[in-house]
């Protein structure tokens, strides 16, 4: 086990010795301590306790540190000695150290003790060891010298290995010496070298020579410098050299010798150039790339964006630097997250998704991104961006076009098959290429029977000649619209045909349409078609249709919709009055009569009508769009009326309801005092109420408009804040804040702003911003705080007043009590008696004064509502000057007044008199005696208030320290000038009673200024 340090502690104060022991224990020092404070004990302890170290307090009643050290010396003991002193007195410390102390510690710096203690003990141990070592030292020195020589050889070898050549130029004798490495570096043999420094300078590359000379010339002033330059070797190859050049100077400062080392740094230099070149390449790529390139650091801040990116995002480079990639990405885009995941996993990714421009618009982009480390090992990520909106649009266009094309083709097919005419194509030699199915009807041949057959085979023999002529004419580029010939049908009958034809040179096809000139088939088919169409239209029509015949309006036709509308069946043949008796009273018969008589169409939209269509007599409200269309017989007389009716009741009712609701809501919104603005997900304004626009006008002087980008409506500072807040709202937060506007229509206002997300199916699709004027509430709040703080202040004042009063009342009482108890002694001599009776009398007077002061103060405080009268400052000042003229004269005191700005006020005269009096007396009392005392009194008008300023050149006081104290009761700052410390307290109380306040500024030996504001 380790032995404890034996510590002898010379100390007479127990707490100090305990603290030393505590400090050592605290630091885990294992020790045994003996505390003594006398010389005898000390000598005894040195012999018997055998301490390893002595700690000694500087002075004890029976022993001091100097003596302790002397004893140690007498006994020829080498024990480490640490002085522990309570004051840092350098003289004492130096003398004790001189006497042989190893260290000293200041008592309140005891934390250093453990270290100093261990250190001193170890040092003492070493000292003992060193003595033994002296003999060995000489042998060691010899061996070191040997090593040194070897080391110098090794150094030479090493410099040869790294190719470091050494040369030397002796300025005095002009001799230039160079070692083998230098010659090797310059590619010359020792024989070729002529011993002149010019030899090497000639080898410097012509392009570098000027710089080389300049640097050498500049280097002459320095102790050491480095130059890097190119040389041309005898074999014409070019190398880079780096030379370190050192000057040695004589006592006069002249250069004696120049010593230098040279090293081939070609490889290094070439690498450096390569890096520079690659950097330039990269730079040029970055600047000129057609794709946008954006570099970001891991927290998302954009560090660079190339010109192409600036064009794509419509942002300047500066705007880029203010944004992060979160401003660029559209986090609502589902494709974004997989892209980011992949990039984080593999370090790179490519993808297509939406990006956001600065103005809030978005675009489709192809993005490739990679994470890389730059030359300084900082992680960055690159985004290469290509705007692909145009490409996607084109793709969609192609898709649309091809669908349209498909549809067109199908239409053509339909036309071909449903056409009553034969549509066909013929090739150059006159064979059918395609033919529509109408040929079966007209010619009785199926298309298959005709394809690849020559058309002339089917033409009537008499018409072949003119048909060939016509075909040649068409082929020469003259399209034909009407050409008639005859075709022989399968059954041998001839059919007259009307042709139209055109030659397409690129397809080498003739397009032909052939009509059956007899027309019979055509009409038959057309009639059937029309009939079907009418029937379908009549029954399938979404409208209700009916036909009324004759003047008594009998139902001739009625479709299902009509029957449903009126809620009746079996109406054909009955009159309108029989079927719908309720409509006559509503004026419908009259309308029908008018149509019948004039033959004019009657049309009405959303007309209100009541029909008993529920199977009973109850009328229900309907809204119908009507057309009453007369129809005529062969003589052109009106024979009846078609009724076309559309039931639009639902639509009308829904619209009315919506209109009512909107109007209600609108009226709520426009009559509320809260302003509302709604934003869509692009932060554009979609709606706002009247109040919002009023506010905007008041704050920014502009009107709100739908479709505006909301942040653009604000000033720059608010803009950034609003953007940030809106971003948070899109993340689902609700934001609420109180904002202060220094001036809205000339008034300071407080607004409570709230931003709520507008959610549709859990997606935030917009933001609702509301602002409420809470000025009144806020002012009440501020007023309440003001009242609370006033109350606290008053309470404080009262407590202070209480304290002062109790002290100042108690002080003379204590004195009286003390003096009286002495006077109670029977054996006092008359002189002492007289002395203490006098003391009692002084104290009684003081007590009386305090009570009178209190009375004055309480009088002011209780008589708050005194009669006010107009008081002229100049008269008031003159009155006071007159009343104390003698004192002023004796002191040579000057009072300057300037009451031009405002000459007087309505006030309580007595108070104002007291205020002026006290402040003038104050200046007089605390004047400086080495200077002519001057007090200037000035009045000023500040808004609705009046300021009276008393400024003197007197003693002054340290306002920084005493400002709080100056107006307090019984506070005085000057010892040698009589004063009770009540004047300024009364001034303050009176100023405050008049509803004003007083402030003071002062500097010692310069003067004091009191400013009263009423």
């Amino acid at each position: 086990m380790k032995k404890p340090y034996k510590i002898l502690h010379l100390e007479d104060v127990q707490t100090d010795s305990e603290q030393v022991a505590f400090e050592l224990k605290k630091n885990n020092i294992y020790f045994e301590i003996l505390v003594i404070d006398s010389l005898v004990a000390y000598e005894d302890a040195l012999d018997n306790f055998k301490p390893a170290i002595i700690l000694c307090s500087h002075s004890m009643p029976a022993l001091n540190s100097i003596k302790a050290l002397e004893v140690l010396k007498e006994k020829k003991l080498e024990i480490p000695f640490i002085l522990i002193t309570s004051i840092l007195n350098e003289e004492i410390v130096m003398s004790v150290i001189k006497k042989g102390a190893d260290d000293y510690i200041i008592k309140d710096r005891l934390m250093r003790l453990p270290f100093a203690l261990v250190n001193s003990i170890e040092k003492a141990t070493h000292k003992k060891d060193r003595k033994k070592m002296d003999v060995a030292a000489f042998e060691k020195e010899v061996s070191i010298k040997k090593d040194l020589k070897m080391l110098s050889e090794k150094l030479k070898l090493a410099s040869k290995i790294v190719g470091l050549g050494v040369w030397e130029y002796n300025v005095a004798d002009g001799i230039f010496t160079a070692d083998d490495t230098i010659l090797q570096l310059n590619g010359v043999t020792r024989n070729a070298f002529n011993g002149s420094q010019l030899f090497f300078i000639k080898m410097v590359h012509p392009d570098d020579l000027e710089t080389f000379k300049k640097e050498v010339a500049e280097g002459a002033a320095k102790e050491i410098y480095i130059i890097t330059f190119r040389i041309i070797l005898p074999d014409k190859s070019i190398r880079w050299l780096k030379s370190v050049i050192k000057h040695q100077r004589n006592k006069g400062g002249q250069i004696d010798r120049i010593i230098g080392t040279s090293q081939d740094v070609t490889e290094h230099k070439l690498r450096e150039l390569a890096i520079k070149e690659s950097d330039e390449k990269y730079r040029s790529f970055f600047e000129n790339s057609m794709d946008g390139i954006v570099l970001t650091i891991p927290n998302g801040t954009v560090v660079a964006a190339n010109p192409a990116a600036q064009v794509i995002f419509k942002m300047s480079e500066k705007e880029f630097c203010n944004c992060t990639r979160y401003d660029l990405f559209d986090y609502h885009d589902q494709r974004l997250q997989p892209f980011l995941d992949e990039r984080n996993k593999n370090g790179r990714a490519t993808g297509e998704f939406r990006l956001l421009r600065h103005d809030g618009t978005s675009f489709e982009a192809g993005v490739s991104s990679a994470i890389f480390s730059d030359a300084n090992d900082y992680q960055q990520s690159s985004l290469i961006i290509r705007d692909i909106s145009t490409r996607i649009q084109a793709q969609q266009l192609i898709l649309q076009t091809s669908t349209a094309l498909q549809n067109a083709l199908e239409d053509v097919k339909k036309i071909l098959s449903s056409s009553l005419d034969i549509i066909c194509t013929l090739n150059d030699s006159g064979n059918f290429v395609t033919i529509s199915s109408a040929c079966k009807q007209i010619w009785q041949y199926s298309p298959l029977e005709l394809v690849e057959k020559n058309y002339l085979n089917f033409v009537h023999p008499d018409d072949v000649e003119k048909t060939i002529q016509m075909k040649d004419s068409v082929k020469n580029g003259n399209p034909v619209t009407i050409f008639q010939n005859r075709v022989i049908r399968k059954d041998g009958e001839e059919v007259p045909m009307l042709w139209s034809a055109r030659w397409d040179q690129s397809a080498e096809l003739m397009y032909c349409i052939a009509k059956d000139a007899t027309d019979k088939v055509r009409f038959e088919k057309a009639f059937e078609y029309e009939r079907q169409r009418f029937k379908e239209m009549f029954h399938q029509a979404p409208s209700s249709i009916a036909a009324l015949k004759g003047k008594d309006y009998r139902f001739e036709l009625a479709n299902n919709n009509y029957l449903q509308l009126i809620g009746k069946t079996n109406i054909i043949g009955k009159t309108l009055k029989e079927v719908l008796p309720e409509v006559e009273a509503q004026g419908f018969i009259k309308i029908l009569d008018a149509v019948f008589e004039t033959g004019n169409v009657y049309q009405a939209n959303e007309m209100h009508i009541q029909l008993a269509n529920g199977g009973n007599d109850l009328l229900s409200d309907l809204y119908l769009n009507f057309i009453f269309q007369p129809y005529r017989n062969q003589n052109c007389d009106v024979e009846g009326i078609f009724i076309f009716a559309n039931d639009v009741s639902e639509r009308v009712m829904a619209r009315r309801k919506a209109l009512t609701e909107t109007a209600n809501l609108q009226s709520i919104l426009n009559n509320t005092d809260i302003s509302y603005i709604l934003l869509d997900k692009h932060i554009k304004i979609v709606a706002f109420n009247r109040k919002a626009n009023e506010n905007m006008l008041a704050v920014y002087g502009t009107n709100l408009e739908n479709g505006q980008y909301y942040p653009d409506r604000l000033d720059n500072e608010t803009k950034q804040e609003a953007k940030g807040s809106i971003q948070k709202v899109f993340a689902g937060q609700i934001i609420s804040s109180e904002v202060y506007f220094p001036s809205i229509n000339g008034q300071p206002r407080w607004y409570l702003y709230k931003m709520n997300p507008i959610s549709i199916e859990n997606n935030v699709s917009g933001v609702c911003i509301s602002a409420e004027d809470i000025t009144t509430k806020k002012e009440a709040e501020i007023e309440r705080e003001q009242i609370t703080s006033d109350l606290l202040q008053r309470n404080n004042d009262l407590e202070q007043f209480n304290y002062i009063v109790s002290h100042n009342l108690r002080a003379p009482v204590a004195n009286i009590s003390g003096a009286v108890s002495i006077l109670n002694n029977k054996d006092l001599d008359s002189q002492t008696k007289e002395l203490f009776w006098n003391a009692v009398s002084i104290s009684v007077n003081r007590l009386d004064n305090v009570i009178q002061d209190l009375n004055t103060i309480l009088e002011i405080k209780t008589k708050q509502h005194q009669q006010k009268e107009y008081v002229q400052f100049i008269k008031l000042t003159q009155n006071i000057k007159d009343s104390i003229a003698k004192s002023l004269d004796e002191a040579g005191f000057t009072i300057l007044t300037s009451f031009d700005e405002i000459e007087g006020i309505d006030t309580v005269k007595g108070y104002l008199y007291s205020i002026f009096y006290n402040l003038i007396i104050n200046s007089l009392k605390y004047r400086r005696h080495n200077i002519a005392p001057v007090l200037s009194i000035t009045s000023r008008k500040i808004g609705n208030s009046v300021q009276i300023i008393f400024s003197d050149n007197g003693l002054g006081f340290n306002a920084e320290k005493k400002k709080d104290q100056v107006f307090k009761l019984y506070k005085r700052f000057h010892n040698n000038i009589e004063g009770k410390g009540i004047g300024l307290f009364i001034v303050k109380t009176q100023v405050e009673t008049l509803g004003g306040h007083i402030e003071v500024i002062s500097r010692e030996q310069e003067g004091t200024t009191f400013t009263i504001t009423i």
Binding site: K107, D108, S806, G818, A819, I822, N975
Partner: protein, 142 residues
Amino acid sequence: MLPFKKIIIIDDDKTVNLICSYIIKKHLPDVLFEAFTNPEEALKSIKQGIHNAAVTTVILLDINMPTLTGWEVLEHLRKMLPNFNEHFSVYMFSSSIYYRDREQSQANPLVTDFIDKPLTIDKLDRIIDAENSKRTAPTIAT
């Protein structure tokens, strides 16, 4: 034997000093007595008298004085003499019956006690007792 050899009183009220002077001289005739009405002068004198450090001194310190308060005097003493507690024992001495002054005295490690005016023989004995209990003998610790 008395645990102190000197009493200094710092109070701007001459009457107080007169009463103290009489009581101390009468009851502790061996003790040196010095009274100051100006605290700055008191500080100056204490600073010069520091070489006489072996003597323990009791200071009676008034709280309410125009140029420096008792607390400010105490602060000056602490800065002027880092270990002044070794040689000085301070008693706040006031006519104040304000509770905070008493509380503040108890809380301040540089203050031994609070004595209210006027000084009497009983109060003087209390100071002697307090000073006696402060002195202790050295011990050996391991």
